[in-house]
């Protein structure tokens, strides 16, 4: 029984990171109707931002960790806006496929630029937050796991708040529903889209840093696999749907952990994750929480 709860916790902390990345995918999709494949590489940049900041910030302090998190999120928000401005905006009226291929191009560019600038050798990530171990009825919980779950929940609610309760959020939803009508009522579409990218990239940065805190070895290709998993999570939950992305991420993390912990099935982990995706697309194409009629952001 203890093993079951331990695995559940392991799965939730892994799933929380998938959820955090999935939120960024789903938000950009919600507004622009396209998958930003460069998202997983912004995730990598976020981790490297944390790595370099770690040299200036004392390790094992909460304020230091939060400061690094905030700066990494800002750096990636700016990066996201630049990517959108240079790579996607010129293609605003082009077919979706062109933008999609451009996104893959940007992804490859960031990966190779990362190998060029940071070097391809994996680097150890500093312990930015203080690390303590809690033991609760035989279940071991590391403070880093709690930080991951906590930050993911906080960002999820902040995102919900921004989208549903603020002026810019209302504008985002308007652009999502009908960009032309939105601009007719005086919404600056470019600004709203830039903001969406900034927000999504900031989430990716947070995901990257939390991932690196939990698995302290970073390299320029570190975003590829988690990014792919998060994409699956976003589709599972219903792409474009914010709570759906979180739910999909957690579900995927838990399923993967239980498969990994099983005796004979661990090598089928990725096969099972993607089989889940195929099944979902076959029987419920809109995802767990998604629907075709509901407005999405």
């Amino acid at each position: 029984m203890i093993e079951f709860f331990q695995q559940l916790l392991n799965g939730l902390s892994l799933g929380a990171i998938f959820a955090l990345i999935a939120l960024g995918y789903t938000m950009v999709y919600g507004v622009l109707r396209f998958i930003n494949f460069a998202h997983s590489d912004v995730f990598m940049v976020g981790a490297y931002a944390g790595y370099y900041l770690g040299r200036f910030i004392p390790e094992h302090t909460i304020w230091g960790g939060l400061a690094a998190l905030a700066v990494a999120m800002t750096v990636c928000a700016i990066l996201g806006v630049i990517i959108e401005r240079l790579a996607y905006r010129p293609l605003r009226s082009a077919p979706t496929l062109n933008v999609l291929i451009t996104a893959i191009g940007v992804s490859l560019l960031l990966q190779n630029l990362g190998q060029f600038l940071f070097g391809a050798t994996p680097r150890p990530f500093p312990e930015l937050f203080p690390v303590t171990l809690f033991i609760f009825h035989g279940i071991y919980i590391s403070s880093n796991q709690l930080v991951v779950i906590g930050v993911t929940l906080a960002l999820l609610f902040a995102l919900r708040f921004i989208v549903l309760r603020t002026k810019i959020g209302t504008a985002m939803r308007a652009v999502s529903q009908n960009p032309k009508a939105a601009s007719l009522v005086g919404i600056n579409n470019d600004l709203v889209i830039s903001f969406t990218f900034a927000l999504g990239s900031a989430l990716a940065a947070a995901g990257g840093m939390l991932y690196a805190l939990n698995y302290p070895s970073i390299d320029p290709l570190m975003g590829v696999l988690p990014g792919l998993k998060a994409f699956v999570a976003a589709v599972l939950g219903g792409i474009g749907n914010i709570p759906g992305a979180a739910l999909g991420g957690l579900l995927l993390g838990v399923v993967e952990t239980f498969v990994n912990g099983s005796k004979n099935w661990s090598t089928y982990k990725d096969a099972i994750a993607f089989a889940l995706l195929i099944l979902m697309l076959l029987f419920r194409p809109a995802g767990l929480l998604g629907s075709f009629t509901k407005e999405k952001v």
Binding site: Q6, Q7, N10, G119, T257, N260, K263, S266, T267
Partner: protein, 371 residues
């Protein structure tokens, strides 16, 4: 007299002209990417060996020229660069790779082209089974598996051991296999074998399953990144059993990533700079003067691979593939810095292994186990 002098001059001139034509040695190594830490040190060892040989006058008067290609730690890349080394650079012989997976890609190509290949650190037995032109300067995984199983059983007194394997990695799967066979033969019990995908970073699920079985020790045959991360996560899950690993652990990055979690772990290796032999100490001294760092397993085996090849070239007195192959196969009791090297019937070096432990963030030499 003057005529004689002129003839001498011409003779020397032609000789030096011929001497200027170098013997090309191809090297393929993971200089960047996941296994860069090994590729880099291996490369420094090979470069150092070539420099020393050339400073001493080369081989039958001709200098060695090392042509290096990067495999970027990517699957498929080794085959590509080795094809290039053979076809375009027309190398006489090839040294590399550090990893078994990459060496396995290149070995059939070298065999087909009749170019002798000697790997410094690829320990999977299948590498030299690819053909008569493929050699290695290190011991093989069955021996390493035996050594680690003996160590776990006799020194650690472990009886129930769990195994953590990187499925899909030839080295990891092979080493785990030999460890299991030998450990059960000694009367020990393998209580669990958990697998993960190569490159995974989360091992909590596998470790939680292992923890429930309460092993005496955990044998992790994956690379240093995976093993360091799994040690750290094991400690966070409250697992106190010691970890054991193979020669791929021998990298400073293991400690940088694993931190205090890798303290008290053990691994087998090819070489210890703390060994007392005079030849080793001289090598350590010269190497440090050249590169400003202590030689490790990778660099000393890289050095030995080139030295063994140079020795064979010298004895063959030819750059013909078949002759070099025969000379390599006849290598007997060659005084390498990692021990006396004799090629066995399967073209593997038979030599001793050393066991290291990690104490307060330092590799500490424990013992040497002879074959």
């Amino acid at each position: 007299m003057r005529l004689l002098l002129a003839t001498c001059c011409i003779a020397i001139f032609t000789l030096s002209l011929r001497a200027a034509e170098p013997i090309k040695i191809g090297e393929f190594a993971s200089l960047t990417g996941k296994q860069a830490s090994f590729g880099q040190t291996n490369h420094r060892g090979a470069v150092f060996a070539v420099e020393e040989i050339n400073a001493a006058g080369g081989i039958f008067g001709r200098p060695l020229e090392l042509i290096t290609a990067d495999t970027r730690s990517l699957p498929g890349e080794a085959a590509t660069v080795v094809k290039k080394l053979i076809a375009r650079d027309k190398v006489t012989a090839i040294v590399g790779e550090t990893g078994s997976a990459a060496a396995l890609e290149a070995a059939p190509l070298c065999q087909a082209a009749g170019v002798p290949m000697i790997t410094a650190t690829a320990t999977n037995p299948r590498v030299t089974e690819q053909g008569s032109y493929i050699f290695r300067a290190c011991f093989i995984d069955p021996f390493q598996g035996t050594v680690l199983a003996q160590f776990a059983h006799h020194t650690l007194h472990a009886r129930r051991v769990a195994v953590l394997v990187a499925a899909g990695n030839a080295y990891s799967v092979g080493l785990a296999q030999y460890f299991k066979i030998n450990f059960t033969a000694l009367g020990g019990q393998i209580i669990a074998e958990q697998k993960y995908a190569e490159g995974d970073k989360d091992f909590r699920a596998q470790l939680t399953a292992i923890k429930a079985l309460q092993p005496d020790a955990i044998f992790a045959s994956g690379d240093y990144v995976e093993s360091a991360l799994s040690c750290a996560q094991a400690r966070q899950l409250g697992i106190t059993a010691p970890f054991l690993g193979g020669d791929t652990w021998d990298s400073p990055a293991l400690i940088a990533i694993g931190g205090s979690a890798v303290d008290g772990s053990y691994f087998s290796a090819h070489f210890s700079p703390e060994a007392k032999e005079l030849a080793v100490q001289h090598f350590v001294h010269r190497f440090r003067a050249r590169w400003g760092e202590l030689p490790d397993t990778g660099s000393s085996l890289g050095y030995d691979a080139v030295s063994v090849l140079a020795d064979a070239l010298r004895r063959a007195h030819s750059t013909e593939g078949a002759k070099i192959r025969d000379a390599l196969a006849a290598t007997h009791n060659f005084p390498g810095v990692t021990g006396r090297i004799t090629m066995d019937a399967h073209r593997n070096a038979s030599k001793a292994a050393v066991i290291f432990t990690i104490k307060a963030g330092q590799f500490v030499y424990l013992e040497t186990i002879a074959p």
